[in-house]
Structure formats: C-alpha cells, structure tokens
Amino acid sequence: NAGVTQTPKFRILKIGQSMTLQCTQDMNHNYMYWYRQDPGMGLKLIYYSVGAGITDKGEVPNGYNVSRSTTEDFPLRLELAAPSQTSVYFCASSYSSTSSGKNIQYFGAGTRLSVL
C-alpha cells in the first residue's frame, strides 16, 4: 500500500540550477498538493490541483511551477534554484467529498532540498 510517494528524498542544488520533485499517488485521489516546511515551522501551500489538467496557486507559489497531466502524478518544478528555496517539500493527496465535507490529506515522506 504505497500511498503518496516522493522522489528524491534528498537533493543538493547549486544556485540557478533547476530540478523536478516527483510525486505520485495510487489512491485515485482527485486533489493533490505541494507544501514546503521550513525548520520549526508549519506547512505552507505552494500549489494544488483539483484534478488532471487543473492547477492553482497556494500561499507561496513564486519560483515554482506544477503540472497535472494524470490523476496519479503531480510534479513540482524549480526553474532557478535560490537559497530561499532550501526547505523540506511535502506532497499530499486527498479525496475531497462535498457531501461529507471531509478533506483528509495524506502526505508523502518529503524531499529535503538544500540550495547552496
């Protein structure tokens, strides 16, 4: 039972480099999310998607891009890495039901990114 899988687990980037953080879920969830978590802080929403082909900005979208071509995958792209993007990145997914009002998000194990 894989749930939400993120790769890589760790990465070190040089300033200006680009990379894609991968996220895939096998629960057939319609909603997917990307968060960043800085040391000692809560999670801040970067981007989210309500279904394949639909994405929207969260609280801190600058410097990031996303795409959602399939239900399962929701990659996060950093085009020009900056030291301020050093953080732990979490992907999450949920099946949001308007009838129940529930939105339990299930998280991956995270990607630790350092930009030097």
């Binding site: 802080m41 929403l45 969260g58 939105n103």
Partner: protein
C-alpha cells in the same frame, strides 16, 4: 490576519500521563479541523478530524474537542507513550476551498 495558532510550542509530559495540546483559530467560518502528527524526518500523519457541527470526537486514545464560542480546538492523548513524541499540528479548512491552513505546531516530549 486570519490564522491557526497554537498556545504552547513545547509540551513535556511523563509517560502514562494524559496530554492536552491546544490550538486557537481566528476564522469563525472554519468548518472542518484536522490534527496531524509529524515524527522527526517523516511527513504529517492524520490523527483525527472534526466538523464544526460537533463538539467532541473520540478515536483510539485520542479525543478532539471543539469550542466554537472561543474558537479553540484541543487534542487529548490518554496514557501518553514514548511513541507519541512528535510535533502535532492542527489545521482548518474553510468552506469549499479544500485548502488546509496549518498552525505552527506543538512539540510533545514524553519523559520516561
């Protein structure tokens, strides 16, 4: 601005005692709340949720209480165990946005 925050950043309890972790929210329109547990080096793990039409919900060793009058949420853990040591986050959802707003977290340290 609107926020979800926690009263205590760190809570230290003895093994076997009950723990109470508190959370304040500022938006009375919030209608769904979740508690997450995050162990070191791992992603947040769902513990329990509660809708705004409820005051109390119980799970295994955990109880969530919601006081809408004072906009306060608490997580009670019975017979706290060393494996309960983690950071606990409350989060809220407002209406149909499906976006969770997270608090900053409380570190629960269980002393043997």
């Amino acid at each position: 601005g609107e926020s979800v925050g926690l009263h205590l950043p760190t809570l230290s309890v003895q093994e076997g005692d009950n723990s109470i972790i508190n959370c304040a929210y500022s938006n009375s329109a919030s209608d769904y709340f979740i508690w997450y547990k995050q162990e070191s080096g791992k992603g947040p793990q769902f513990i329990i949720d509660i809708r705004s039409n409820m005051d109390k919900r119980q799970g295994q060793r955990v109880t969530v209480l919601l006081n809408k009058t004072v906009k306060h949420l608490s997580l009670q853990i019975a017979a706290t165990q060393p494996g309960d040591s983690a950071v606990y986050f409350c989060a809220e959802t407002r209406g149909a946005t499906n976006k969770l707003i997270f608090g900053t977290g409380t570190l629960l340290a269980v002393q043997p």
